[in-house]
C-alpha cells in the first residue's frame, strides 16, 4: 500500500503523529473504520458490572457475584468471584475488600455490597484494592480442571500403577465397609472387621489404645469446617488416635519453640509484624511477600513500609528473593543453609556484651514493675535460677519462700543494689547476676539470673566460629545487633518454616527471645499477635461432643506423641533395673503434632504397630514430608503391608495414587468455610459457600459424592456414634440430623454467625450483589429463621470481623501483660528420649545432631557432602497450584540455584542438568541456574515442582482408556525424598528430625551435586 493512498483514506491525520514519526517512513494514527464496540478488541470474560452514562452501576446480566474464601494456601484470604450463571462456571476471582487479609485495611462490614464493588472501581479502586496472589488468581480454574477426578474409582491393576475402573459410590461404600476378595489378591478386611474396640492394638501396651487405632487417617487440619468434621468421625466416632497432619513438616517446631519465650507453659505462638509502624525488620526462614502470613497482607505492608517509611530490613536467607527490593532499605545476608542459629547467637552475644538491648523492658520483673516503667509485658530476665547441681530445685527458679522473702514466686536482685527481693516486689531487677546466696536454712545456693544464663550460653562459642558457620561476617552481625538495640520496640524479628533444620524448634525460641531483648512483643511497630478466629464448634449447636462417642483420653498415637517416661517400655526397663535411656525410638512430648510422616514411618517399621487402613484426605505426605523414606513408600505400595487405602480428593497425587478406592471430593470453590485468616489482626473469619454445582458424581440418593458424604454413610452403615438422625444437639433442646454434607456446615456457620455481634442487615440489593439466593438455598431448611438471617449476613460479606482500634497508647490494644521468658523452667523437666538429658532452659547452640547425639558431620562429612541444601516455597506454588492451568504456565520448572563461584568449584555450569545426592535419600535431578544471589556453598531448590506422579502430570488408564499425563505439570524436580534420613534411628524406615521436637528437617542438609 503506498503512502499517499494510505493518508488519503485515513482522512484525519493528527499533526503530532506526522511530526514525530521515528520508526519507518509510514505515519498515521487514525484508521479507516474505528470500531466503538470494545467487543472487537479481544475475547475477555464479561466484567462484573458497569457504570452507565447516567453514572449508575449495574450488574452484568448472567453474571453472579459472590464473596468466598481462597484455600490455595493455608493462610486463607477472601475472594470476590464472578460466576457465569448459564454455564455454571467460575470465571474469575479477585480479593475480598471486606477481608483484612486481602489488603490490611478492610471496608467497614456494614458497607452495602453494591458499594463494595463501586469502591473497587476507577480512581477510588486504586486506594481500595483487595488482592489475591497468583495462586489465588489462578484457582478459578480449579473447578473444571481437565485432570480433576470426579468419578468414584477402584484400582484395576497393582497399587500405584495408575489403572482404574469407575464404579458406583454404593459399590465402593459396600466394599470398603465389608471387605472381601476385592482385588483378586486375597481377602481384605473391611472397616467393620478392623474396628475392634475391645482389643488392644499392641497387646501388653495399653497406652496405645484399642485395635480401632489400626485405622490411620491423614487430613488437612487447616480446613476448619471440613477438617473438624473429619476429626469428629475419626477420633470421636470411629475411635482412632492416628489422625496425621502436615503440621510437623511445616512450621510446628518453630511455633512450639517460639511459645517458650511467651509463656511458662507449652503452647504454640508465632508473631506477625506490625506493618503500620515497624521501623526495622529481621527475617529468618521467611521471605515476606513471597509466601504466607498472608502473601496479600504482608506484601502490602512491606511495600507500603519500605516505600512510604523507608523501612529498614534484613533478609537472612541462603537465596536472594524478590523481598530484597532494589532501591529500598532492604539488605540481604547470605546465610548458609541451616546455620541461622549461628548467625542469631552471633547477634545475641553482641547485643548482650555491648548492652544493645532494651534494658528498661528486661528489668521489669513483675507486672507492677513493668507498668511503672511504661511497659506492658514483664520478663524473667532478672529472675534467679538455682544453678547448684546438688540442690533439689536445680534448674528451677529459686523460690522466695526458701529465702524467707515471700511465697512461690521468683527472686531478683533489686536493681542498683545487692539486695535479694521477691520478683513481685515491684522493683526493677539487676539483669546479670551470678552469685552464691544463703537461703533461710543457711545453705549456700548458687543463683544465676536468666539473662546471665543466656549470655553464658551465647559466650560458649566465639564470634569467629559463629561467622564461619553462618557465612555472615562479624561486622554484619554486629550491625544487626546495633540496629536491633537502636530500634528497640519498633524492631521486629520474624521467621517461619524456612529454618527446619535439626534446630527449627530453637529458631522459633530465638525469635521470641530476640523480640524480648528489644522489647517489641505487643508494641506498636513490633511483634504483634492477631485476635484469631470465631470458632463454631459450640454455641447454638453442639458440634464438639458426641453422645456415646469414643474417648481417646490417655491414648498415645502411633507417632508416639507423649512422654516417653509414661510409656510401658520405660516402665518395663525401670522395673528391670535397666537404664531406661535410650528409648527404642523417638517420642514426641515437646511437640505432639500427629506428624503424618512419623505416623507412616511407624507403620513401615511395624513399631509400635502397623496400620490396616489408610484414609487419605487432602494430604500428600509422600510428596510433602521431607526425608520420607523409600521404605515408607514400599510399606504403602504393598497391599500385604497395608491392606486397604481409601483416597479422597479432587486430584490424584503422589500419595493417593496408591489408593484402592478413589473417592472424588469437592474443590475449594464448592465448599463451606469459616476460617481464621493468618495475617489478620482483628478477630474474625473469612467465610464461603459453594459457588457452583459440585462436579463430583452423585450417589443413588442424588447427593454429590464428597468426603463428608462418604464418612456419614460409613457411619450410618456401621452405626457409629455421632452421625445420623438427631446426632447434633441444639441449644433449644431439639436434635438436628447429620445425614449429608450441608447438615454439618449449616450448623457450624450458624454457630459462628451467632457470635457476630454486629452483623450487617442484608438488603435485597445485597442479595443480588452477593449471590445470596444461590448461597442460602441449601441452608435455609436446616436452620431456624434467626440462624438463617445471621448466616446470610455472614455470607453476604464473605466473612466478618470485629472492628476495633489497633493500639492502646504504645501497645497493641487488648494484649494482656505476660511474663516473657528468657529462661523457661518447665521445659527443663523434659528429657530427651535418647540421651535422657534435660532440655535446656534457654535457647542453645549446638551442631546439627542426630537422634543419638552424633553430629551430622560425623556421618555426613564435608569431604563427601561439601554443600548445604535449602528448600523454600516459590511464590506461585502451593499444594494444588500445579493443577491450576495458569500456574503451570508461568512456572514450567524450578531450578537448582547455586552461587556461580560454588558451581565453578564443583565443576558445574549454568544450564547443566545436575544430580543432588545425599547419604541415603533418593537422588533428585534438576536444572542448574547460577548467579550471585545464592549463598556460597548453598544449594537452593523450591518445593511444589516435580509432580510427574500426580495432579494430571501422571499417566492414567481409566476404564481401559488412556488418559495421558499433561507434561507441563511435571516440570522441575521434587526434593523431599532426596532429604536423607537419620542413620542413628535404628529402624528400616527413618527420617531426619529436629533434635528437640522430632519435626522433619529440610534445611542445612549436607549434599553433593554432580552433573547428571
Amino acid at each position: 500500500m503506498d503512502r499517499r493512498k494510505f493518508l488519503t483514506r485515513a482522512g484525519i491525520v493528527s499533526v503530532a503523529g506526522a511530526a514525530t514519526v521515528a520508526c519507518g517512513d509510514k505515519g498515521h494514527t487514525s484508521g479507516p473504520k474505528r470500531s466503538q464496540d470494545v467487543a472487537h478488541f479481544g475475547h475477555p470474560i464479561p466484567p462484573e458490572c458497569q457504570q452507565g452514562s447516567d453514572g449508575q452501576w449495574q450488574r452484568t446480566p448472567g453474571i453472579r457475584t459472590a464473596y468466598s474464601r481462597c484455600f490455595s494456601c493455608y493462610n486463607i484470604c477472601g475472594l470476590r468471584v464472578r460466576i457465569d450463571e448459564a454455564n455454571d462456571k467460575v470465571l474469575k476471582v479477585g480479593g475480598n475488600p471486606y477481608c483484612e487479609n486481602n489488603s490490611g485495611a478492610p471496608l467497614p462490614i456494614d458497607t452495602a455490597v453494591k458499594q463494595s464493588y463501586v469502591a473497587l472501581a476507577g480512581e477510588a479502586g486504586l486506594e481500595n484494592r483487595a488482592t489475591t496472589c497468583a495462586k489465588g488468581a489462578s484457582c478459578a480454574d480449579s473447578v473444571d480442571d481437565e485432570r480433576r477426578v470426579t468419578q468414584v474409582l477402584k484400582r484395576a491393576g497393582k497399587r500405584g500403577e495408575g489403572k482404574w475402573v469407575s464404579i458406583s459410590y454404593e459399590q465402593a461404600l459396600s466394599e470398603i465397609v465389608n471387605g472381601g476378595d476385592l482385588f483378586g489378591e486375597g481377602h481384605v478386611e473391611g472397616l467393620r472387621a478392623v474396628r475392634q474396640l475391645d482389643k488392644q492394638v499392641k497387646p501388653g501396651y495399653p497406652e496405645f489404645g484399642t485395635a480401632a487405632n489400626h485405622l490411620f487417617a491423614t487430613f488437612c487440619a487447616e480446613d476448619t469446617l471440613r477438617g473438624s468434621f473429619y476429626a469428629r468421625f475419626m477420633q470421636q466416632s470411629w475411635g482412632t488416635s492416628n489422625l496425621g497432619t502436615k503440621h510437623a513438616y511445616c512450621g510446628a517446631a518453630q511455633a512450639t519453640g517460639f511459645a517458650l519465650g511467651m509463656s511458662p507453659d507449652f503452647e504454640e505462638w508465632l508473631n506477625d509484624v506490625d506493618w503500620e509502624n515497624v521501623e526495622y525488620g529481621l527475617f529468618m526462614g521467611t521471605s515476606p511477600g513471597s509466601s504466607g502470613a498472608s502473601l496479600n497482607r504482608v506484601g502490602r505492608g512491606l511495600a507500603d513500609s519500605r516505600v512510604d517509611r523507608k523501612f529498614k530490613y534484613v533478609c537472612v536467607d541462603p537465596l536472594l528473593r524478590t523481598t530484597v527490593a532494589a532501591d529500598t532499605n532492604a539488605k540481604w545476608l547470605a546465610v548458609k543453609p541451616g546455620q541461622d542459629a549461628a548467625f542469631s547467637f552471633g547477634v545475641i552475644r553482641t547485643m548482650l556484651e555491648e548492652g544493645w538491648f532494651n534494658k528498661v523492658h528486661l528489668e521489669g520483673a513483675s507486672e507492677k514493675a513493668a507498668k511503672a516503667a511504661g511497659e506492658l509485658n514483664y520478663t524473667n530476665a532478672g529472675h534467679l535460677v538455682v544453678m547448684d547441681p546438688k540442690h533439689p530445685n536445680y534448674k528451677g527458679f529459686a523460690k522466695a519462700a526458701d529465702f524467707g522473702l515471700g511465697g512461690d514466686e521468683a527472686l531478683i536482685i533489686k536493681s542498683g543494689s545487692q539486695t535479694l527481693v521477691s520478683a513481685e516486689s515491684g522493683d526493677k531487677a539487676e539483669l546479670f547476676v551470678s552469685k552464691t546466696f544463703k537461703d533461710s536454712k543457711g545453705r549456700k545456693v548458687k543463683l544465676v539470673s536468666s539473662l546471665s544464663l543466656l549470655r553464658e550460653e551465647a559466650q560458649r562459642t566465639s564470634m569467629k566460629v559463629y561467622a564461619e558457620q553462618s557465612g555472615i561476617s562479624i561486622e554484619d552481625m554486629r550491625q544487626v545487633a546495633k540496629d536491633l538495640g537502636h530500634y528497640g520496640r519498633k524492631a521486629c524479628i520474624a521467621g517461619n518454616g524456612g529454618t527446619n533444620s535439626s534446630d527449627g524448634f530453637v529458631m522459633g525460641w530465638i525469635w521470641a527471645t530476640l523480640n524480648t531483648l528489644v522489647g517489641s512483643h505487643d508494641a506498636k511497630g513490633g511483634a504483634s499477635y492477631g485476635n484469631g478466629p470465631i470458632g463454631g464448634m459450640e454455641g447454638r449447636y453442639d458440634l464438639a461432643n458426641i453422645a456415646d462417642g469414643v474417648s481417646l483420653d490417655g491414648v498415645v498415637n502411633a507417632c508416639r506423641d507423649g512422654a516417653y517416661e509414661s510409656s510401658t517400655e520405660y516402665q518395663q526397663k525401670v522395673a528391670k533395673g535397666q537404664n531406661p535411656y535410650p528409648a527404642s525410638t523417638p517420642w514426641h512430648e515437646m511437640l505432639p503434632a500427629m506428624n503424618a510422616a512419623e505416623q507412616w514411618t511407624s507403620h513401615a517399621n511395624a513399631d509400635p504397630y502397623q496400620a490396616k487402613v489408610l484414609f487419605n484426605w487432602r494430604n500428600n505426605f509422600l510428596y510433602s514430608a521431607a526425608s520420607i523414606s523409600q521404605e515408607v513408600v514400599a510399606s504403602i505400595a504393598d497391599p500385604k503391608r497395608l491392606p486397604l487405602i481409601v483416597g479422597i480428593d479432587c486430584h490424584m497425587n503422589e500419595t493417593n495414587r496408591y489408593a484402592d478406592y478413589f473417592i472424588p471430593d469437592r474443590s475449594m470453590l464448592e465448599e463451606y468455610a469459616a476460617d481464621r485468616m493468618w495475617g489478620s489482626h482483628m478477630l474474625g473469619v473469612v467465610a464461603a459457600s459453594p459457588l457452583v454445582t459440585p462436579r463430583t458424581v452423585k450417589n443413588e440418593r442424588g447427593q454429590h459424592v464428597c468426603m463428608e458424604q462418604l464418612l456419614i454413610d460409613i457411619a450410618l452403615e456401621m452405626k457409629l456414634p455421632g452421625f445420623g438422625k438427631g446426632a447434633i444437639a441444639h441449644a433449644d433442646g431439639h436434635q438436628a440430623d447429620l445425614l449429608c454434607f450441608e447438615d454439618w456446615h449449616a450448623k457450624y456457620l450458624a454457630n459462628v454467625a451467632a457470635q457476630c455481634e454486629d452483623l450487617p442487615k442484608v438488603t435485597a440489593e445485597d442479595r443480588e450483589w452477593a449471590g445470596l439466593d444461590y448461597a442460602m438455598k441449601p441452608l435455609t431448611s436446616r436452620l431456624t429463621p434467626t440462624e438463617t438471617s445471621q448466616v446470610e449476613s455472614l455470607l453476604s460479606r464473605g466473612g466478618y470481623y470485629v472492628a476495633d482500634d489497633r493500639y492502646d497508647g504504645d501497645f497493641i490494644k487488648g494484649a494482656g501483660a505476660k511474663c516473657l521468658q528468657i529462661y523457661h523452667e518447665a521445659v527443663t523437666q523434659l528429657r530427651h528420649a535418647y540421651s535422657g538429658e534435660r532440655y535446656p532452659g534457654t535457647i542453645t547452640y549446638q551442631e546439627h545432631k542426630f537422634w543419638n547425639g552424633d553430629t551430622w558431620e560425623s556421618h555426613w562429612p564435608k569431604s563427601e557432602y561439601p554443600l548445604l541444601f535449602s528448600s523454600y516455597k516459590a511464590t506461585v506454588r502451593s499444594n494444588y497450584a500445579v493443577a491450576y492451568k495458569r500456574i503451570a504456565e508461568i512456572s514450567p520448572t524450578n531450578f537448582v540455584y547455586m552461587n556461580q563461584d560454588t558451581a565453578n568449584e564443583q565443576g558445574l555450569s549454568d544450564g547443566d542438568s545436575v544430580k543432588l545426592i545425599t547419604a541415603n535419600g533418593k537422588p533428585a535431578v534438576g536444572l542448574l541456574q547460577t548467579d550471585s544471589g545464592v549463598a556460597k556453598g548453598a544449594v537452593c531448590v523450591s518445593h511444589g515442582f516435580g509432580h510427574a506422579q500426580g495432579f494430571g502430570a501422571d499417566n492414567r488408564v481409566i476404564n481401559g482408556k488412556s488418559v495421558p499425563g499433561l507434561k507441563e505439570r511435571a516440570g522441575g524436580v521434587a526434593i523431599n525424598q532426596m532429604i536423607p534420613s537419620d542413620p542413628t534411628r535404628k529402624a528400616k524406615a527413618s527420617m531426619l528430625n529436629d533434635y528437640w521436637t522430632g519435626a522433619n528437617c529440610r534445611h542445612g542438609v549436607p549434599v553433593r551435586v554432580e552433573k547428571a
Binding site: M1, F6, T20, A22, C23, G24, K26, G27, T29, G31, K33, S35, V38, H40, F41, G42, H43, P44, P46, P47, E48, C49, Q51, L91, K92, G94, A121, G122, E123, L126, R129, T132, C133, G136, A137, S290, N296, G299, R300, A303, V307, L320, T322, T323, A325, A326, W332, Y872, A874, R886, E889, S891, F895, D910, Q929, D931, G933, S942, E968, G972
Partner: protein, 231 residues
C-alpha cells in the same frame, strides 16, 4: 538461561535512563490520555498481575499480555532484586501501528489505547516484531491476532480498573488519565522522578516507572525471560 550480563549499565558504560521530560508527561490529548505508572520498589514479584490478566483476557498459554521480569543486581556491597512489570506501553508513537498492512491496529483518540481490531486483523504477526518492547505475543500458527495489553479496555470502558492493576498486592501499578490533574497517575508523575523504557527509541510510551535505578539497562531487562525466575 538467565544471562549473567549486568542488568546495570554502569559496568558496560552505557547511557543512564533518562527522566521523562515534563513536557511529555503534561502533554494533553483531546480525549483521555490513559497511562500507567509502575513503582517497582513496591513490586513483590507475586505475579498475580500475570495470572489475573491471562484469566481476564482468556489468553492462550504462553501468550500472556503482562509479566514481571526480575534479576539480581548489585546493591552496595551486596545484591538486591529488581522486579520490573512490563507490557504494551500504549505508545504515542507506536512502532507496531506503522507496519500493519490493514490498519487493524491503531491508537484510539478517545483514550489513547492502542487496540487490535480482531475483525480487521489478518493475523500476519508483522506488528509483533516491530514492537521494540516485545509487548505483543505472536501466534506462530497465524490463526489469531497477536496478544497484547489493551489496558483491559472492556473493563475500563465500564468504569472498572484493568485486571493487573486491581490485583497488584504492593500497589506498584497505578492506572488513570494523565489529562486529569487530580488523577493518581498525574500526581505520581508530578511527585516522582519517572523513567520510561527505551525512551530513546522515539515511541513515547505511556507507562512510567518509579524506582528504577538510573543505571538500569532497560533493553536487558526487557529481554529477560520471566519464566526463568522461580524464586
Amino acid at each position: 538461561m538467565l544471562d549473567r550480563r549486568s542488568i546495570l549499565k554502569m559496568a558496560a558504560g552505557g547511557a543512564m535512563l533518562a527522566i521523562v521530560p515534563s513536557a511529555q508527561l503534561q502533554a494533553k490529548t483531546p480525549g483521555k490520555r490513559l497511562a500507567m505508572v509502575f513503582d517497582v520498589r513496591r513490586c513483590t514479584g507475586c505475579l498475580s498481575c500475570t495470572v489475573s490478566c491471562a484469566m481476564e483476557n482468556q489468553t492462550e498459554a504462553g501468550r500472556g499480555r503482562t509479566r514481571v521480569n526480575q534479576a539480581c543486581i548489585e546493591q552496595g556491597d551486596s545484591f538486591a532484586t529488581l522486579a520490573v512489570p512490563n507490557q504494551c506501553n500504549q505508545c504515542d508513537n507506536p512502532a507496531c501501528v506503522y507496519v500493519c498492512p490493514v490498519e487493524a491496529t491503531y491508537k484510539r483518540e478517545e483514550d489513547g489505547i492502542v487496540v487490535i481490531d480482531h475483525e480487521e486483523c489478518i493475523h500476519c504477526q508483522l506488528c509483533v516484531d516491530a514492537c521494540p518492547y516485545g509487548a505483543r505475543r505472536k501466534d506462530e500458527t497465524l490463526e489469531t491476532p497477536p496478544e497484547k495489553c489493551n489496558f483491559c479496555i472492556h473493563r475500563v470502558s465500564a468504569g472498572l480498573l484493568p485486571a493487573c492493576v486491581e490485583t497488584c498486592i504492593g500497589e506498584a501499578r497505578s492506572f488513570g488519565d494523565l489529562n486529569d490533574p487530580q488523577s493518581k497517575v498525574s500526581q505520581l508523575v508530578r511527585d516522582n522522578k519517572v523513567y520510561a523504557m527505551l525512551s530513546d527509541s522515539g515511541t513515547k510510551p505511556n507507562i512510567f516507572y518509579i524506582g528504577l535505578p538510573e543505571q538500569t539497562d532497560d533493553q536487558e531487562i526487557l529481554s529477560l525471560n520471566f519464566l526463568e525466575w522461580q524464586r
